[in-house]
Symmetry: C2
Amino acid sequence: MVRKRQPSTQMRVLLEAMSAQRQQWRHGYDLMKETGLLSGTLYPLLMRMTDQGLVEAEWHEPAQPGRPARHAYRLTAAGFALALGLAQGRGDLPSDGAFA
Amino acid sequence: MVRKRQPSTQMRVLLEAMSAQRQQWRHGYDLMKETGLLSGTLYPLLMRMTDQGLVEAEWHEPAQPGRPARHAYRLTAAGFALALGLAQGRGDLPSDGAFA
DNA sequence: GGACTAATGCAACATATGTAGATTTAAGAG
DNA sequence: CTCTTAAATCTACATATGTTGCATTAGTCC
């Protein structure tokens, strides 16, 4: 059976950081430093949230050769809605269509 | 005044590894593991040798996104000549034109 | 409340390439 | 041989993105 957890502390921290500039594409490495989340927490979390439709991801070409192509992430409408709800102190998930 | 050093142990190790398959493009990371040289020794060494015309370098696109583009290195004729000379126990540098 | 177990988190590792700064080595001069 | 010092090396750090495998947390059923 599918278990749905309440958003974890780590997910709240991430949502808060990403909702500050909602439309900005953010890099995993920047989010690591800003949120203090470790790579082994952050990257799986971003991937889960992408699967859940809270985050959208995109590859950006590296500015200089030798550097890795960077994965850029941004909140979707659903992700932003969740972030707003959490910021307002409501731990529940907004119903479909809200903030669409 | 310009000081010319005898090839160092590290350079000898690298030349030996690279001359094994002379025409193969080798990646810095592979050479690190094969030679046991640390990145802080190997990369500056490869760059110096490239400047000296012993090695030629080329960028290869990454096979998968998220991985860095890889710098590939290969011995030039001069580099191979030097490697051969060292392998034969002669510490001196071959004269210009040899093995050209 | 307690057992079961899915979901999550985290330390360590792996991939790759490099730079900064302190130390070590060795060439050339005397 | 010793002094000077340029060249080379090495430790640590920085950039980036992930995976692995074990430990912890928490949802569900009884």
